[in-house]
């Protein structure tokens, strides 16, 4: 990665980290409801892959831990926060919530809350790309635990069979909710499970963005060149619990500390400092600047935005009726 790109991505990763930490605070203050799944610790995964891909051009789909993926694709952090606040200005107009962030214009095809559900949807998006003949690819980000669903295998089979342009990114954070991978999964290294479908697969460190980026470049090139699907496993860790109701009793504080020694933001920061591209003071200023942006713009926007109107409760269940009348009434022109 070029120095300028590394500096830009560091800024983005700091935003992603501070955004999520601010969500935590807002949740405690009961400004955010429902379930909230946070991303700190895993930032190099989404950022490394999307640096190798084309955000806003390639189609991205993921599970419920989706805020950062949406922002990386180009969604406005203000709209994402407003969504968490349940506001009309939210990315899904307050109808989705944390687990269902969408940005159709940026080709962020959503967060879905059934574990494994996005696998076949991603393959379908790739099928549509194949039919239309574009150079886009579909990228499906999911956790390791999703691979224990039946549709994982069904989808790998179809994606390989039909050579669909889809990249499966497995963010292996070692836990499915509160059960460790050793206790839930017969084969711990997920890329090995993919070999059965003749899909090329790779595993790498998910904490060092430059390693992720290099592995993702190879993966993206493979898929974009029309060679069919690819599976990339990134070894990573989430600092927070699965969601906000999780007190992390299933793992030790020592294990958490070990992973925090390899924090993705600090790895990149320290490398930039070592290369003389920035100083610690620059980084601290960046954090402050980011916090100020989140507070003065993102939170302010979410706080001040209007709620959806109760009269619009049933809006968006079906397509706008006026546009569908020929088929609903049979009176086609």
């Amino acid at each position: 990665m070029k120095i300028e790109d590394k500096k830009r991505v560091l800024r983005e990763m700091v935003l992603h980290r501070r955004f999520e930490e601010r969500c935590y605070q807002a949740y405690i203050e009961r400004k955010i409801g429902g379930f909230l799944h946070l991303y700190p610790g895993q930032e190099a995964c989404c950022n490394g892959v999307m640096e190798a891909a084309r955000p806003g051009h390639d189609y991205v789909i993921t599970g419920y831990r989706d805020h950062v993926h949406a922002i990386k694709c180009g969604a406005d952090p203000k709209a994402v926060m407003a969504e968490l606040y349940g506001k009309e200005t939210g990315s899904s107009k307050g109808r989705g919530g944390s687990m269902h962030i969408f940005d159709g214009d940026k080709r962020f095809m959503g967060g879905y809350a059934l574990v494994g559900g996005p696998f076949p949807l991603a393959a379908g998006i790739a099928k549509a790309i194949q039919l239309k003949g574009g150079d886009e690819i579909a990228i499906c980000f999911l956790g390791d635990a999703a691979n224990n669903q039946g549709v994982f295998h069904e989808t790998l089979n179809m994606a390989a069979l039909w050579k669909l342009p889809v990249l499966f990114v497995c963010e292996n954070n070692l836990y499915g909710i509160g059960t460790s991978i050793e206790r839930s999964t017969a084969v711990v290294h997920q890329h090995k499970r993919v070999a059965a479908y003749n899909i090329p697969a790779d595993e790498c460190d998910g904490q060092d963005i430059e390693i992720v980026y290099e592995a993702a470049r190879k993966a993206v090139d493979h898929v974009r060149s029309g060679n069919g699907p690819y599976f990339l496993e990134l070894m990573t860790y989430r600092y927070r619990g699965h969601s906000m109701s999780d007190s992390r009793g299933y793992r030790s504080r020592e294990e958490e500390e070990l992973w925090k020694q390899r924090d993705p933001i600090f790895i990149l920061r320290d490398r930039l400092i070592k290369d003389g591209a920035m100083t610690m003071a620059d980084f601290e200023a960046l954090e402050k600047e980011t916090d100020a942006y989140i507070e003065n713009e993102v939170i302010k926007f979410a706080e001040e935005s209007p709620e959806p109107r109760v009269e619009d409760l049933e809006k968006y269940v079906f397509a706008d009726r006026a546009t569908q009348l020929p088929w609903l009434t049979g009176k086609a022109a």
Binding site: Y59, I61, G90, S91, S92, K93, G94, R95, G96, H100, F102, D103, G104, D105, M109, G110, Y112, A113, L114, G117, F119, P120, L121, A122, A123, G124, I125, A126, K127, A128, I129, Q130, L131, K132, G150, V151, E154, T155, N157, M158, L161, W162, K315, Y316, V317, F318, A319, T323, Q324, P326, W327, L328, T329, G330, K331, A332
Partner: protein, 327 residues
């Protein structure tokens, strides 16, 4: 008007829509090279090729989800689920992805896909190949459910379902694919909403849909000839949404109602129609509405037991006679 079979009507709708729009595709088990278990996609593979007529692996959840994902980008897949019993495996994707994506994305994404599936008890197919599941689908927000009772509807409903931007589930019946009927020669779009009067009458309304419309028509004939009772038959080809206005109009005219369904009674089409009658026109009733339905048993294999589990036109006649105090 051509007199063609139900499967031919479905095949024609596929063919016309695929010829018109290169983004209309169809997918399912054995639908391509083999031409479809019920021939509903016969000849399409040869005409449109494997990219658009996709023989899928036996992975209902997977290929249904794949079709839904493609529909997010404007592809219009017609997804055949060979037997509605297998749709259980696809329901997560149908309900959680297709039916909800428009709402949970605040209107940004939509899933314009069509699910077709054969339900119903055929001949001794046993517990896992005889289900009627329309009642499961009709309770899902964001999903339209239609069920054709004749070739004209089978053709016109599929045409409309493919054009509509909402996901549509089309409930077909294993015993009806060879039924013949008149289909317009020109292009025809059957409304996805509403109901139609299959036979006009004044003394009682018989509500049916799909195969039970035929029980009702046969029963109306017997009631007229043998008992002097004039029955109106209302075809509820749209199960979601149900035609509240149509139900009200007919019951307000006849003041009596029988609902015939191949489903089991609990949480069925009949329960819902009676609830609508209560809400819309309770004081028009001269007698309590009656349901005709299957026994609440897993479908038995034995022929005699199977026949005992499933209603037919005679059960509809009996229900009407009971309603008139003649049984």
């Amino acid at each position: 008007m051509a007199n063609i079979m139900y499967w031919e009507a479905i095949q024609r709708a596929h063919d016309e829509e695929m010829a018109r729009d290169p983004l209309v595709i169809c997918m399912g088990e054995d639908i391509g090279v083999a031409g479809g278990t019920y021939k509903a996609t016969k000849g399409l593979y040869e005409k449109y090729g494997p990219l658009r007529v996709m023989d899928t692996p036996i992975s209902e959840g997977g290929f249904t989800g794949l079709g839904i994902g493609a529909s997010f980008l404007g592809v219009r897949p017609v997804i055949e689920i060979m037997s509605v019993n297998f749709a259980w495996l696809a329901m997560d994707q149908m309900f959680n992805s297709a039916a909800k994506v428009r709402y949970m994305s605040g209107g940004q994404l939509t899933a314009p896909c069509v699910f077709r599936s054969a339900g119903g008890a055929a001949h001794q197919l046993g517990a896992q190949h005889s289900a009627r599941m329309e009642k499961v689908f009709m309770g899902i927000a964001g999903l339209r459910v239609v069920t054709p009772s004749n070739p004209k509807q089978a053709y016109g409903l599929l045409k409309s379902a493919i054009r509509c931007d909402d996901p549509v589930f089309i409930n077909e019946h294993e015993l009806m694919y060879n039924m013949k009927g008149e289909v317009p020669d020109g292009e025809y779009f059957h409304p996805l909403e509403g109901s139609e009067i299959a036979r006009s009458g004044t003394d009682v309304t018989l509500f049916g849909y799909n195969i039970s419309v035929h029980w009702c028509l046969k029963a109306a004939e017997i009631l007229d000839k043998q008992y002097g009772i004039s029955a109106e038959v209302v075809d509820l080809y749209s199960l979601s949404p149900l035609d509240r206005a149509g139900i009200k109009t007919s019951v307000s005219k006849t003041h009596r109602a029988v609902i015939a369904e191949e489903d089991e009674a609990p949480v069925g089409v009949g329960s819902e129609v009676i609830a609508i009658i209560n809400e819309e026109c309770f004081f028009e009733l001269d007698a309590a509405p009656v349901r005709v339905h299957s026994a609440l048993v897993p479908q038995p294999y034995n022929h005699t037991l199977e026949k005992a589990a499933i209603p037919d036109h005679e059960d509809v006649v009996k229900a009407v006679l009971k309603l008139f105090g003649k049984a």
